[in-house]
Amino acid sequence: MSLAGPRPERTRATARSRRRQRTFYTFISPWLLGFVLLTLLPLIAGLLISLTNYDGLNPRSMHLVGLDNYVTAFKDPLVRHASGRTMVWVLLNLPLWIIVSFFLAILVNQKIKGIGIFRTLFYIPSVIPAVGLVWTWKILLEQNYGLLNGFLSLFRPGTAIGWLSDQAIYGVTSIALWSGLGAGMIIFLAGLQGLPDELIEAARIDGASSFQVFWKITLPLMTPVLFFQIVLGLISAFQMFVIPWLATTSGSVPAPPRGVYLYMVNIYRQIFGVGRFGYGMAILWLLIVVIMALTLLVFRTQRYWVYSEVEE
């Protein structure tokens, strides 16, 4: 065996792998550059700004204030209120969305004539973009001229419930729910259609009722989809902003009512309303930390209730 034997082989191999490596990095460079400049940099910049008293206008008078903003945040009654409302929002919206869209998916998973039309119809609300969505619902929920109160007045004349003012939590929940059902349904439907038919057939032959099949087979097999829906739903519910903002504010109403004064609404108000950029960044970072911690927590619970085919 000559010592020189394997060497050219290896150099050729490493040359090739080095070339491939270069190609790989060239190809992903737009994304990588974007990730560093448009995601990482803003996040770090945001973190640094959160340590200052920056007001968005005068970089000259900007100076470091250390952790002052974070200390203020923990004492700020507005932050406490907004956090509380966000918890209410999440606890109301997430279960509603999951249950109703799962229910719709089961409905449209039946193999009967014309079911395709219903699938399409049920998805239509999800096609409507935020601004259209909000106007669609403003005219339904308006206190004096809206359809809902008009309809209720047929039974109880003079009904004037403020669905978008003092009862906004329910009004805005209906809007968000209506718009989210389509996507939720489609994802659950895809999950349902991926279930093994044999298992359900076998259970039926053994005399299991539809109810038993659902609880003992369908639901456990659907837990991976359920899990992911909960994670995504949680993350987006914590950041809810556009719908409550658009639905409840107008020229004469500069900020959403207390019921839907959510955490992101408060951040937006602090930064763009009052110009407290430094403080806004601090409370934004607190939200990021909370969302990440909760997501990790939910991931931790995964092994207790989520079905997985691979035994670990």
Binding site: S17, Q21, V131, W135, Y145, N149, Q229
Partner: protein
């Protein structure tokens, strides 16, 4: 014998009748749900045909006395600049979507076809994490940087976002490109094809379904976005979402609800059309997004 047979026959007849009844009940339920879900859209269409005084009447009027089709003509009145901003929105959405599709496809290709590069797996982990990590947390700090660079009020941020691609779309393309046979690539390499022309001439032309999904989802996202154009753009170059929300005012400066609603219908219509034409692609994208984390 005869008695048993007839008893059996009546039993199956009863079972059949029960099944029929069940089906009828099920259809009733479906129709009921459909009505609840479509009432808002029907009310939107009805209101768009009312006079504003009809909308502002108390107690409410359910139907317009005479359908005001001219609301739809008024939406396009030059003083509201509807068409001008519709054009701008299409331009912005097409520019962003094209760039995003190309960039995401290129990265997706790299992640799918270069598994031998060591950092590939870890970097792809970042991509997946970025799908889950919320966009709104970066959008405000990003805004500060862009405004420092004096790029707010222009379309350049969208160009940069497009060039950077989007994690979800990279994921979409990677999944699709993973299924291509290795021989295809090897044969092309032997023939002296560069990696870029393998991507450009072989992989991309065969990725039409994902390209369609990705383009449609991006287009719809820009069209529907209200927050970003609202904080980034000026009122004279903003998108339709921001425009229709507060442009339809009477000379006194008050918002005209019925006209806004008519404008909303016109604004929504392209999305409904795109949905019906590209239903297959859109739903595939939605399903992938739901299963991305698995």
């Amino acid at each position: 014998m005869v008695a048993i047979a007839s008893a059996q026959a009546s039993q199956t007849a009863r079972a059949r009748r029960r099944k029929k009844l069940q089906r009828l009940l099920f259809y009733t339920l479906l129709v009921l749900v459909a009505v609840v879900l479509t009432v808002p859209v029907i009310w939107l269409l009805i209101t768009s045909l009312k006079k504003d005084v009809e909308y502002l009447s108390y107690p409410i009027t359910f139907l317009p006395a005479v359908p005001q089709w001219k609301n739809y003509v008024q939406v396009f009145d030059p003083k509201f600049h509807f068409l001008k901003h519709a054009g701008m929105t299409v331009f912005l959405a097409v520019t962003y979507s094209t760039l995003c599709v190309l960039s995401s496809a290129l990265s997706g290709f790299a992640f799918a076809r270069f598994p031998d590069v060591k950092a590939s797996r870890r970097l792809f982990g970042i991509v997946v994490a970025m799908i889950i990590i919320p966009g709104i947390v970066t959008i405000i700090p990003q805004f500060m940087i862009f405004s420092k660079m004096r790029l707010t009020g222009t379309y350049w941020p969208w160009v940069l976002w497009g060039l950077a691609g989007s994690p979800f779309h990279i994921f979409l393309f990677r999944q699709f490109f993973l299924s291509f046979p290795k021989e295809l690539e090897d044969a092309a390499e032997v023939d002296g094809c560069s990696p870029f022309s393998i991507f450009w001439r072989i992989f991309l032309p065969n990725a039409q379904p994902v390209i369609a999904t990705s383009f449609i989802l991006n287009f719809v996202a820009v069209w529907g976005d209200w927050f970003t154009p609202m904080i980034y753009l000026r009122s004279d170059n903003t998108t339709l979402a921001v425009l229709i929300n507060n442009v339809f005012r009477n000379p006194a400066g008050n918002l005209i609800t019925t006209l806004t609603v008519a404008g909303t219908v016109v604004y929504i219509l392209p999305m409904v059309l795109i949905f019906f034409l590209g239903q297959r692609y859109i739903l595939k994208g939605v399903v992938t997004s739901g299963l991305a984390g698995r």
